[in-house]
Amino acid sequence: MAKLQKRIKARSITIKFILWFLVISLVPLIIATYISYSSSCKLLEEAVSKSLLAVADNKANQVEAFLREKEEGIETLSRTPEIINAIELFDVAYDKGGVESEEYKMAYEKFGPLLAYYQRRFGYDDVYLIRSYGDVVFSVNKKDALHSIYIYEPYKDSQLSRLFIEVSMSPEPKISDFEYSPRTKEGAIYIAAPVFKEDRVIGAVVAQMGNKGIFEVVRDYKGLGRTGEIVLASKFGETISFITPLRFDPDAAFKRRIKFGSPEGLAEQKAIQGEKGSGISVDYRGKEVLAVWRYLPSFRWAMVAKMDTDEVYDSAGKLRNTLFVISLGLLALVVIMAVIIANSIANPIRELTKVSGVIANGDLSARARIKSKDEIGELAQSFNQMTDSLLEAKASVEQKKAELEVQKRLLEKANKELDSFVYTASHDLRAPLRGIVAFANFLEEDYKDQLNKEGQDFVKEIKEGAKRMNDLIDDLLKLSHISRIQNPYEDVNMNELLDAVVKRLDFDIKEINADLKIQKNIPIIRCDRIKMTEVFLNLINNAIKFSSKNNKESPRVAVDYAEENEFHKFSVKDNGIGIDPQYHEQIFGLFKRLHTQEEYEGTGAGLHIVKRIIDDHNGEIWVESEPGKGAAFYFTIPKDIEKKKKKIGEILVEEGLITEENLKDALKKQEKDKA
C-alpha cells in the first residue's frame, strides 16, 4: 500500500496530467453525448408520435367505415319490403303456436334463406327480427332461443334489449356496446334498425357481430414496428375491457380488464374518458410506451396506438452506445496522450531530480543527460552549468577554507602568545611591585619620624602609584585569565549567582547607601558561571560607582531579566551621570576611561572584560544612556548556547559553501595532523 502511494506520488505529474486531460475532454464529451442523445430521443419521439397518430387516424377511420358499412347494411335491410313482410309474417306465425307451428315453418321457409343470405352477405354472426312487443321472432342461428327480450334470458337486461328500446324510439339505426357472453365466452355487439310500416314501428332488424371483423382491421401491425399495436377498449361497468385480442395477450379480449385508477393502461383510461392526446404512458403490461389515444364517440370506445419506448429509443440507444464506445476510445487516447506528454515532462525532471540528489550527496561530477532543445533541455543545461560553477566554487571555497584555517591557526597562536605574554608580564611585574609597596610601607612605618611632611607625601605618592599599577596588573591578569580559561557551560541558578555578587559588593553598597533592586525568579541559564559572575560584578559595581555621584537623587541600581524568543536578556540600570552616545562604542574598549582617576577609580578594563565574556557566549551587549539620565547596560545570552558556539566550518556549511561531509572530512584530517 505504502509502495503504491509512493509510486503514485512519484508519478504525480502523470496522474495530474491524466486527471486534467480527462476533466477537459470528459466534460464536452458528456455534454455532446447528452445533447445528441436527448435530441435524437426527442426527434424519434416526435416522428413515432406522428406516425402513431397517422396510424391511429387511419385505423379509426377504418373501424368507423367498417362499422358504418355494417350499420348501413342493417339500415338497408330495415327498409326492404321483404323484411317488413317477414316481421309481419313471423309476428303472426309466432303467435299461432310458436316455432313448431306450421305457419312459422312456412314463414321460415319463405324468409329464412333470404335472411341467412343477408347475414352471410354482410358478414354478421346472426340476424334477428324483433317484433314491436319485444319478442325475438326470428334468428338465423338460434332458432331455439326465440323469446321476449324483456323477460327471458339471455336477452333480459342485455345490450340487445337496451338497444331495441333505443331503436324503437328513434328512426336511426344504432350500435350497442359490446356484450360478453359467459356461455360462448365471446363478446358481441348488436346493430339494430327500426322497421317501419306506414310510419309505425313494427319491430327491428338486429345484426349480431363478434369482434373478429374489427380485429381484422386493427391486427394489421404495418408501420407499428415490433411492439406497436392498436388497442380498442370499451367501458364495462367500472372497468375497461379490451375488445380485441392484444399483440402481447391473444386472450385479452373481454377477459383482460383495467380498473379505473390503476397504474396500468393509463392511455386507455384517459381515452375512455373522452380525452385525446399523446405522450409517454404506461400500457396494460405496465410497460412504458409512447402512445396516442382518442375516444371514438360513435361506439364509445377508447382507441390507443402505442409503441414501447424501448423500441422508440432503440435507434437512439444504438446511437448512444456508439457514442459511448467512441467516447471510451477517445478517453483511452486522451489518457495515452496525457501519459506521453506527462512523461516527456516528468522524465527529464526525474532525471534532474536524480542528478541533483547525487550532487546533494557530494558527487559534483554528476551531470543531467537531457538532449532535448526545449525549455527542459535549457533547464538541464543551466543545471549542468550551475553544477560546473558549484564545482569551481567548491574548489575555491576549499582553498579559501584552507587559507582561513591557516590564518585562524596563526591567529590563535598569536592570541595565545599574547595571552601568555600578558600573563607572564603581569605576573613578573607583580614581584617588584610587591617590593615597592612593602618597602614604602616599611619606610612609612619605621622611618616616619625621620621624614618631613614633604617626604611623607612622597611616600604616600609611591604607595598610590604602586596601588594603581597593582590594579592594572590585576585587570590584565583577569583579562588574560578570561581568554585562557574556558570553563564548561553549566546550568546556573542566576538568583543564587546574583545573591553571591551582591554579597561581594555588600561593603560598597552599604557605603553609598545604594538602593539595589534585583529581579526575582530568573530562570536557570546555561553559561560559564565564573565569567557570568564577573559580568555582574563589573556591571553592578560600575552602576553603584556612577550612581553614587548623583547629587539630586539617592543612588538606584536595578538588575532586570526578560525572556526573549531565542535568548535571555539582562539589564543593569543606574541613575548615575550617564554616558554621551558618542562614547557608547568606546566604553567597551580596553582601558578606556571617560573620567579622571580622581572622579571615578578603576582601570577601565571592566567593561572590556564584560564584553569579551558576552562575546564568548555569542551574546550581545550594548548601552542605552544619555548624559545626566543614567545608564542602562543590556546584554543577551543565547538559549541554545552550545549550538550557537559556531566554528568557522559550521558557518561555511550554513552558508552552503561546503557540505557537512566536507566539514567532517576536514575535521578528521585536522585531528590526524595534530596527532
Partner: protein, 121 residues
C-alpha cells in the same frame, strides 16, 4: 611551637620583606635559601620547625622541595607552607599533594602567610 624557620625564595626582595614581617610577628630564628636544592640541604642540616618555600625556584620547584622534605622526614615535622606570586587552583592541589600544610599568595603585606603560620599552632 614554631621557633626555627627556613625560608626558600630566589627573590632577595621578597626574602627581605618576609623576614621583616616574621621578625615583627616574633620569629627571629630564620634561615634562608635561594634554590630548591639548597633549601632541601638546609632543611636537613638546620632542622627547622617550619619551611616556607616559593613555588617558582631555580632548579627544583617548591612542590618538589616539599615532596623531598616529606620523603626525608615523614609527616608532621617540619610544617611546610608553599607561597606563590600568583594564586592558581591547580597549584593549590599540587601543593596539597606534595605534602604541604598550607598554600597562600604573596601579597605586599603578607597577611595570608602570617595568618597561615598562626593557624599551624
Amino acid at each position: 611551637m614554631i621557633k626555627k624557620l627556613l625560608l626558600i625564595d630566589d627573590n632577595e626582595q621578597d626574602k627581605k620583606i618576609i623576614k621583616r614581617f616574621l621578625n615583627k610577628a616574633g620569629y627571629h630564628n630564620i634561615v634562608t635559601a635561594s634554590t630548591g636544592e639548597e633549601g632541601v640541604e638546609k632543611e636537613k642540616t638546620e632542622d627547622p620547625d617550619l619551611v616556607i618555600t616559593d613555588t617558582v625556584l631555580p632548579g627544583i620547584d617548591g612542590f618538589m622541595v616539599c615532596a623531598k622534605i616529606r620523603e626525608f622526614r615523614g609527616p608532621g615535622k617540619p610544617k611546610v607552607i608553599v607561597i606563590t606570586g600568583a594564586i592558581d587552583a591547580v597549584d593549590a592541589v599540587k601543593a596539597r599533594k606534595s605534602g604541604a600544610d598550607d598554600y597562600c599568595a604573596k601579597t605586599s603585606d603578607f597577611m595570608p602567610l602570617l595568618e597561615a603560620i598562626k593557624k599551624l599552632k
